[in-house]
Structure formats: structure tokens, C-alpha cells
């Protein structure tokens, strides 16, 4: 009995100790660390924590929680972080449907939200908020760039497909906004579908000269492997989500030579990016993905704002965030009027470096590109 109470006292002391060290800024990170989409959340978290570590600041406390890719869990975590933990800034959400469930309520409570990934159109247009900053992209951006690339590659008839959910619809809308040719076919697949034999047969039967697809995660791996095995040689274009560092190894040869669009690539030539790629690999033993670069940039934006303003002074802190005075892994970075990035989006090609599949820059697909919804934002 005595031993037990001693142990409890010791544990209580151990728990109380870090709290007594003064953390001036509390950051709540809600991200996906378990289940099928965990690779993305882990990359964002690792990129974010790497930047915090490199800054050497010990007055930023990051609380990381797993949303399991479930909107209800994300909402509970957000409530807990705002009310019990009293965080100043929230970040981390990967999926647009979770962002829609969390972001409007936390920004309405006066907290800041920095999005390292999801950029649903509703939050870029009429639903924009002064305390919401997106450090990655508006959802349509990479698809718009894919459409622009298809024009420059001389494609005139595309077969396009995406899952039937909001980000999938945004993807096809984005592609069609910039693609000037006609469509050979347009298919909405089921979210989570893993067998694309039926769609591939339709592509074969069409007279398309190019295929655009947005199938994030495992869906894209399945599609590419099956597409290669079908023997169809119509070129494929897609956003970076099916070609990021985390899944390329699982796709294998099927991805070689495919052109994809991204705001980041590991060979973008600037000192910040070179240092980021090197230090990420040294720290975690793997190459960073675009998600990791987004987490890294998000943390550096936060640190840059904290250097000029205190988070308790919301107006000054917001101005400091808006200035975006940090070295981005993408090179130039600035926010548009709706707090979404204005940035260059590149075309990349999948190559093999030794045993590792990775991406190589081809060139810009859209330069200094802003999103289509900024005009609807009244801030």
C-alpha cells in the first residue's frame, strides 16, 4: 500500500514537471497516425517536428493526437485541445472532410489554424476566415496544373477519373478548368475502390490520347499497377498525391516516366530545400515526401510569426503570419488575399535513382498560381 502511494506520488511529480517548464506557445496537432492514411499524417508530423527541433526553441510545445481519419474523432480532439489544453494554434489535418468539421469551429473560437494539407474550396472562398491559413495549396491547384501541363504536352483528348467525393469532384473541376482539349470520358469511381479493371477497359475502348486521374493513397497504387499490366500505352498525368515518396516504392516500375504535378520536389534548387531533404533523411532514415515538406513549411511559418509577434496579440500575430517571412522549401512563398499560397506548381517525372523510385523536376506547369476562389473571400 505504501509502495503504491509512493509510486503514485512519483508519477504525479513526473507528470507535473514538464508543465512547470514554461511553454509560451502551445500547438495542437490533429493528424492521421493510424489506419490506411497514416503515412500522410506521419510525414506531416515528422516534417513539422523537425523544423521545431532545428529552430532550437523550447518555448513551443506541440501536442500531437491521432484523428484516425474520422471526422467525429477530430472534432472531439479539437474541443479537447481548445478547452482543456488551451492551445493557441491548431494544425495537422490531412483530409478535407475532417478540415471542414474542425476548422470553422476553432477559428470561430479565436484560435489560429494553419493547414499543412487539406484545402477545401469552401474554406478558400466564401468560408474563408482571418485566422485560417493554408500553407499547402487549395485543393484544385495541382489538378489545374495537370490540365495546364496536358495542354503544353499537346494532349487534346483526355480520359479523366476520380473518386466520387468532394475532393474528387474538385480534382476533375480543376483539371477541366485549365485543360483546353475535349474529354474522351469522365468517370467517378467509388471511394476506396481497389479494382480498376472496369475503368481500364473503358479507357482501352475510348480514343483518348491521355489519362488524368486523381486517386490518392492505395487507390492510386492499385490503378497504376493494373494500368501497366493491361498493356495500354496511353500516357498518364496526375497530381503528386499518387506519386509521393511514401507510395512510389509500392507502385514500382508502373510509375516510371509518369508526369505528375506538385508545388514541391526534392530537387527544387534552393538552400532551404537542400538542407531540409538532407536533415530529414538523416533524422528519419527515409526521403521526405511533399507532405513532409508541407509540415516543415507550416512549422517554419509559425516560428517566423512568433519571432515578430506574440500569439496572445492576435492582430499582430495574424499580420506576422500573413507576411510569410520564412524560407520555404519551395523557394518563393506568399499568401493571397484569402490566406492561401500563391506559388509555382511544377511538373515532375518519376525516375529511379539506384534502387529508389523518386521524382525529378521537369519545369514549371503554372507559375505564381493563385486559386480560383480568392475572389469570393470577404475578409
Amino acid at each position: 500500500m505504501k509502495l503504491k502511494s509512493l509510486m503514485i506520488a512519483a508519477m504525479a511529480a513526473a507528470v507535473a514537471l514538464p508543465a512547470s517548464a514554461i511553454a509560451e506557445t502551445k500547438v495542437g496537432m490533429i493528424t492521421t497516425l493510424s489506419g490506411g492514411g497514416a503515412g500522410l499524417g506521419i510525414d506531416v508530423r515528422d516534417g513539422f517536428l523537425l523544423a521545431i527541433k532545428q529552430s532550437g526553441r523550447d518555448d513551443i510545445e506541440v501536442i500531437v493526437e491521432d484523428d484516425q481519419r474520422k471526422p467525429d474523432v477530430a472534432v472531439q480532439l479539437a474541443d479537447k485541445m481548445v478547452q482543456a489544453e488551451q492551445v493557441d494554434v491548431l494544425t495537422g489535418i490531412i483530409w478535407s472532410n475532417l478540415a471542414m468539421a474542425v476548422v470553422p469551429s476553432v477559428t470561430a473560437q479565436g484560435k489560429f489554424y494553419l493547414s499543412p494539407n487539406a484545402g477545401p474550396s469552401a474554406l478558400a472562398g466564401a468560408g474563408c476566415h482571418p485566422n485560417y491559413f493554408n500553407v499547402a495549396w487549395q485543393n484544385d491547384n495541382l489538378h489545374e496544373a495537370a490540365g495546364a501541363y496536358a495542354n503544353s504536352a499537346g494532349y487534346s483528348k483526355s480520359f479523366i477519373l476520380a473518386p466520387n467525393y468532394p475532393a474528387g469532384q474538385d480534382a476533375l473541376t480543376g483539371y477541366k478548368r485549365f485543360f483546353e482539349g475535349e474529354l474522351a470520358g469522365e468517370i467517378y469511381t467509388t471511394l476506396g475502390q481497389t479494382d480498376y479493371a472496369a475503368e481500364i477497359a473503358q479507357i482501352r475502348a475510348s480514343d483518348a490520347d491521355s489519362v488524368f486521374f486523381f486517386l490518392p493513397g492505395g487507390m492510386g497504387i492499385a490503378f497504376l499497377k493494373q494500368y501497366q499490366d493491361s498493356g495500354i500505352d496511353i500516357p498518364v498525368v496526375g497530381p503528386a498525391f499518387s506519386f509521393d515518396q511514401g507510395i512510389l516504392q509500392a507502385v514500382g516500375d508502373a510509375a516510371l516516366g509518369v508526369v505528375n504535378t506538385s508545388q514541391w520536389s526534392k530537387d527544387i534548387d534552393n538552400p532551404t530545400n537542400a538542407a531540409f531533404v538532407e536533415s530529414f533523411e538523416a533524422e528519419y532514415g527515409r526521403l521526405p515526401s511533399l507532405y513532409a515538406s508541407q509540415g516543415f513549411d507550416t512549422a517554419n511559418l509559425l516560428i517566423s510569426a512568433l519571432e515578430t509577434a506574440d500569439v496572445s496579440d492576435a492582430d499582430a500575430f495574424r499580420d506576422a503570419l500573413r507576411a510569410a517571412d520564412f524560407n520555404s522549401t519551395r523557394g518563393d512563398f506568399e499568401f493571397g488575399p484569402n490566406h492561401h499560397p500563391i506559388q509555382t506548381i511544377y511538373a515532375r517525372e518519376v525516375i529511379k535513382e539506384g534502387d529508389v523510385f523518386t521524382n525529378k523536376l521537369i519545369g514549371p506547369a503554372l507559375e505564381n498560381h493563385a486559386d480560383a476562389y480568392a475572389g469570393d473571400c470577404q475578409m
Binding site: A38, G39, A198, A222, Q226, Q249
Partner: protein
């Protein structure tokens, strides 16, 4: 809509159905013999795929990978039966669902712990990759034909096992009256372990076969599990023949519905609405099929018990 496309889609539906059968066969055996609802069947599918990817990565041999998938899933299945499932036979279905759901979480996070969060690579061997030309000028992937053939061979083998062998007689007797066969001196707990391992092995080999053309990742088994439940409900719980017919019906409905419903609707409305309504309807098609069959035959196509 050309004839070639139609034939290709029918083959696709058939292939999908036969892979579903491998999952559903184990599920229906376990439910039929032991009265157990096993939600963790999808995890065994995942274990098969991961074992295959690991062995293929290490040895480079696809045949060894398939053997490893079968062995790993069957061994894990046997262990799970001995440690957990055994305690659930006399519990009601809610307890079984809760316990096997817990197993899903344990297996998913355990696999992530062992293999990491990123999908693994498992590819078709060179001798099975690429398309072949079928009579009529149809280009069809060789690997998918291989899946159809392997699946049918396994189905025939299972049928022979159930109808022709001593162990098959015991399994069928166990479905009908478990007290009686125990009274006849058959070691019922050994039989249960065997049936569970057999079902698990089938799921494992399905995971490995399908993993080569899809992605090997944590959580890959659950979507298939739902379809496998639909299959056994349609086919009649406990019926192997029902599982085969049900699986092929679901496979064909899912594949053909996805193409023909939008085409059909284009006759009535403009293409954009037809595509969006058609694809929504197509994703419901198998559940509509299930509902219709249950209205017509409440115990499924080949379900014996009422």
C-alpha cells in the same frame, strides 16, 4: 458499347467474383460449422498479403510468396482460434462481433508496428505480367486469367474436400448437429481449429493474389470483408455452393453495374447527370441485389435453415 468491351467486363466481373469467393468461403465455413461471426477475417486477408510481400521482397519468388501467405494466415488463424475464438462459441453474436472487432484493431496496429505505415510492394511475376490476346481480338491481362483459373481450381478442390473426404463429412456433420458428432467420438475442438485455419488460409491466399495487383497496406481487408458478408448473405449462410454463386453474382453486378447503369441513364438524361446518378446507383447495386434476394428468399439462395 462494343462486344469486346462487354466480354472484357464480364471477365473482370468473374475474376472479382472468384476472388471474393476465396474470402467468402472461409467466412461461410466458419459461420456454418461454428456459428461464429468473424469480423477479423479481413485481417487474415491482410496478413496473407503482407506475408507474401515480405517473402517476395526477400526471395523474389512469387510461388514462395503464395505459400508463405497461405502458411502465415493459416498459422495465425489457428493461434487466434486456440487463444481467443475458442472462448466465444457459447457466447452470443454481439460478444463475438466485439471480440473479433478488437482483433481487427490489434492486427492492424500490430502490422503497422512490424511493417510501418507505408504500403508495401508486391508485384506480378514477369511470367504472368502483360496482356494476352484472346480469341476475338480481346486483349486481357494474363494475371487476371490466372486469378480466375486458380480461384476455380481452389473452388473445385474445396468442393471435393467437403463432399469426398472424411474431414469433409465431419465438417458437414458439424454444421448439422455439433452435439451429435461430439457424442460420436470426433474431437470437435480439433475440427474447429482445423476449419478456422482452413478459412484463414483461404483468406490469406486471396490477400496475396489480389495484393499483387492492388496495394498491400494496413486496412486493406475491411472493404473486402463487407463484400464477403454480402456474398454469404446472398448465397445462404453456411453454403459453399451459395458462396460461389453469390460471389460471382456480386462480382458481375458490381463490375457491369458500374458501366451499364450510367450508359442506360444516358438514354434518359444528359451525360453529366447520368454519370453522377449512374455511379451512385452502381455503388448501391450489390446491396439492392442483396435486398431483392432476401425478399425472395429470406435465407439466401442456398440457405438451409430458416
Amino acid at each position: 458499347m462494343s462486344f469486346i468491351l462487354l466480354v472484357e467486363q464480364v471477365l473482370n466481373g468473374l475474376q472479382f467474383g472468384i476472388m471474393l469467393f476465396l474470402m467468402a468461403a472461409g467466412l461461410t465455413l466458419i459461420f456454418g460449422v461454428m456459428g461464429l461471426i468473424n469480423l477479423a477475417h479481413g485481417s487474415l486477408y491482410m496478413i496473407g498479403a503482407f506475408a507474401a510481400a515480405a517473402v517476395a521482397g526477400y526471395t523474389g519468388s512469387f510461388v514462395l510468396a503464395l505459400a508463405a501467405a497461405l502458411a502465415a494466415a493459416a498459422i495465425v488463424g489457428a493461434i487466434v482460434e486456440l487463444v481467443v475464438i475458442r472462448r466465444l462459441y457459447d457466447k452470443d453474436h454481439l460478444d463475438q462481433v466485439l471480440a473479433t472487432f478488437a482483433l481487427i484493431l490489434i492486427f492492424s496496429e500490430g502490422t503497422r508496428w512490424l511493417f510501418g505505415s507505408f504500403p508495401l510492394f508486391l508485384d506480378i511475376p514477369d511470367y504472368l505480367s502483360g496482356p494476352v490476346t484472346l480469341p476475338g481480338g480481346i486483349q486481357y491481362p494474363l494475371y487476371r486469367l490466372f486469378l480466375i483459373v486458380v480461384g476455380l481450381l481452389i473452388a473445385i478442390g474445396l468442393g471435393a474436400l467437403i463432399t469426398k473426404t472424411r474431414i469433409g463429412i465431419q465438417i458437414r456433420a458439424g454444421e448439422n448437429d455439433r452435439e451429435m458428432i461430439a457424442a460420436l467420438g470426433i474431437d470437435i475442438s480439433r475440427l474447429y481449429t482445423l476449419v478456422f485455419a482452413l478459412g484463414a488460409g483461404l483468406a490469406g491466399i486471396a490477400g496475396a493474389l489480389v495484393g499483387a495487383i492492388q496495394s498491400v497496406q494496413v486496412g486493406m481487408g475491411e472493404p473486402v470483408l463487407i463484400l464477403a458478408f454480402v456474398v454469404i448473405v446472398i448465397g445462404g449462410i453456411g453454403s459453399m455452393k451459395g458462396a460461389l454463386i453469390g460471389a460471382i453474382l456480386v462480382g458481375l453486378t458490381d463490375t457491369l453495374g458500374g458501366i451499364f447503369l450510367p450508359e442506360l441513364l444516358k438514354l434518359f438524361t444528359d451525360p453529366a447527370t447520368a454519370t453522377s446518378i449512374g455511379s451512385s446507383l452502381a455503388s448501391m447495386a450489390i446491396y439492392i441485389l442483396m435486398g431483392a434476394i432476401l425478399i425472395w428468399r429470406p435465407t439466401g439462395l442456398f440457405g438451409a435453415r430458416s
